[in-house]
């Protein structure tokens, strides 16, 4: 296990009231409440953002860079995710957003959607060439890739071998910026404007690549209010700088990446629960001859990311409208596949859920877990701070919790104790 398990979602201990609302919502059972405070088990967290959405006390948030990061560099390039465009009302021209980013303080922009169009072309070629190994699973959502890496080892071979479009966008942006500014690499800041914490993690701790050219990640929700006045002032005469078409911009919605493959033989699922169901069925080989599987952890696709401001479904419709008048695609691959669009290393299985160092040890621990489960009331009430009775049993077997943490069991034993002491009551 070589992985570091960086994750971007974290807890503000001060704000956490230990209300256990989050523990059941986490799709990987990564949260425990102990001593009245939530705790994220870093090996299990896939940065899906569900706990940020559910926490009534706003105790969960994502780590990302503040807008001030622009000051660290002499020359900055903004890489807007297509989901950024979906946040604004009545936007009919992407150039307004891009010009506003420049007016706000960036020296240049490079749209992630432009790189996405190249990834679409690469995917089309790749799938055609390797049809016998289908279905292929999209690697655009880092949460999905992380989920597969810890829970679905059989499916790792089905992942497309491409990094998410933002990586390719960053590489192109670096090259352009160095040519335009004449500055050395370290004075240039490549700043991604992200819809979700998972993409923050993917830039800070990439899997499949050893490093990322993205220097900073800021949240759509942070830059949104700052951009509005600039958009107003540039709206009448924006600079022509958009370089992407319908296929690229469409990536922001669920189904968009599939649309770029120009095949009907695909499945697109969004929302983490749905994604897990599809992966389980895929693992059990319950699907026929699909070519492509697009999976996005957030409802609606990237437009549903937890760092966005607009309602995902409203954003979806806005993005669709915006795409309507765009040319289909405006980017084509040259003769060769761009370096850096491909994963450098294979993504390896991380068996974080395995217990025991060898089979005999796992068996013994598993037997203990089954035994404990029989003893527990099976209410999955969460009072112990674990999401299910079984999760508590596993924690006990791993040495992280005690039998006495089960509140109904404790109550029972107190009751029987008091009956032995004063049997007549």
């Amino acid at each position: 296990m070589g992985a570091e398990f960086y994750h971007s979602v974290h807890l503000d201990v001060e704000l956490c009231k230990g209300c256990i609302n989050c523990i059941k919502r986490c799709p990987t059972q990564a949260i425990r409440v102990q001593h009245g405070k939530a705790k994220i088990i870093k090996e299990y967290c896939i940065d899906c953002g569900e706990c940020i959405r559910i926490c009534p006390h706003h105790a969960k948030s994502a780590t990302y860079d503040s807008i001030d990061i622009l000051k660290k560099y002499e020359y900055t390039v903004a890489l807007p995710a297509p989901s950024l465009y979906a946040q604004f009302n009545n936007l009919d021209d992407i150039d307004i957003v891009l010009s506003a980013l420049k007016s706000f303080g960036f020296d240049d922009t490079y749209e992630v959607s432009a790189a996405a169009e190249m990834v679409s072309e690469m995917s089309r070629n790749y799938i055609k060439k390797h049809r016998e190994d289908a279905p292929f699973i999209s690697t655009a959502c880092p949460t999905v890739v992380r989920l597969i890496r810890v829970r679905f080892p059989n499916l790792l071979d089905h992942l497309l071998p491409f990094a998410a479009p933002v990586e390719l966008a960053a590489q192109i942006a670096v090259k352009n910026a160095m040519e335009k500014s004449g500055l050395p690499r370290e004075k240039i800041g490549i700043i991604f404007i992200s819809p979700c914490p998972a993409k923050v993690t993917a830039c800070k701790d990439p899997i499949g690549n050893t490093y990322s050219e993205v220097d900073g990640v800021i949240a759509i929700k942070d830059i949104y209010p700052l951009l509005l006045p600039h958009m107003k002032s540039v709206a009448s005469d924006p600079e022509k700088c958009s370089v992407s078409g319908r296929i690229g911009v469409g990536w922001g919605n669920s189904g968009g990446e599939s649309a770029g493959l120009l095949t009907d033989n695909y499945l697109a699922a969004d929302g983490i629960e749905n994604v897990i169901r599809v992966l389980e069925d895929l693992e059990d080989q319950k699907f026929g001859d699909l070519e492509f599987i697009e999976l996005g952890a957030c409802n609606g696709g990237c437009v549903g990311g937890v760092l966005c401001v607009e309602n995902p479904y409203v954003a979806q419709s806005k993005l669709k409208k915006l795409c309507k008048y765009l040319p289909i695609s405006r980017n084509h691959l040259g003769d060769e596949v761009p370096q850096g669009a491909l994963f450098e290393t294979e993504i390896e299985y991380e068996p974080v859920y395995k217990i025991g160092k060898n089979l005999a040890e796992s068996l013994a621990l598993m037997a203990r877990i089954d035994e404990l489960c029989k003893k527990f009331p099976g209410l999955d009430c969460g009072s112990c701070g674990a999401p299910t009775c079984r999760a508590l049993a596993e924690d006990i077997a791993r040495g992280f919790a005690r039998e006495g943490d089960c509140i109904p069991l404790l109550k029972e034993s107190i009751l029987s104790l008091s009956e032995t002491i004063s049997p007549n009551q």
Partner: protein, 143 residues
């Protein structure tokens, strides 16, 4: 400490909605142990097939599972009519469903059942008595 895990499940007849419940539970157990994922895949498939067999053809039954440090052993005893010709039933593609059965429309009973189980397992044995039921036993090496 007792080193083996024993699991026992009752499978109800014609309960399609629960098909997969046994294999999923066993899979969840195996996935947390130090076991190769390819072995888990085979085990899940074999158990799923025997579960389906019980639900569709055999009036339900009982599946007993034992996991030892060496192997996963399954005994699936059904309440079905028994199999008149085992040789024939073991052929890939054999099914007792009538051609117009609506189960076929669901993609069930393509007749891969028994031969599929045998393909996935390292040990396979079948015992049947007409009018009483069929018991299949199979094992998969875990090492």
């Amino acid at each position: 400490m007792e080193k083996n895990i024993k699991l026992s499940y009752i499978v109800s007849p014609n309960d399609f909605l629960s098909a997969g419940a046994v294999s999923e539970d066993v899979k969840a157990h195996l996935e947390e142990m130090e076991i190769d994922s390819e072995i888990i895949r085979k085990a899940t498939l074999a158990i799923y097939e025997s579960e389906l067999n019980m639900i569709i053809h055999a009036n339900g039954g009982i599946i007993d599972i034992e996991i030892t440090p060496d192997s996963l052993n399954v005994e699936a005893a059904d309440n079905g009519p028994g199999i008149p010709d085992i040789e024939q039933a073991m052929e890939p593609g054999f099914t007792t469903l009538k051609p117009n059965s609506d189960m076929k429309a669901k993609g069930i009973g393509k007749g891969r059942g028994l031969s599929n189980i045998r393909k996935c397992t390292d040990f396979f044995d079948i015992e049947t008595e007409l009018g009483c039921g069929t018991t299949i036993r199979f094992g998969i090496d875990l090492k």
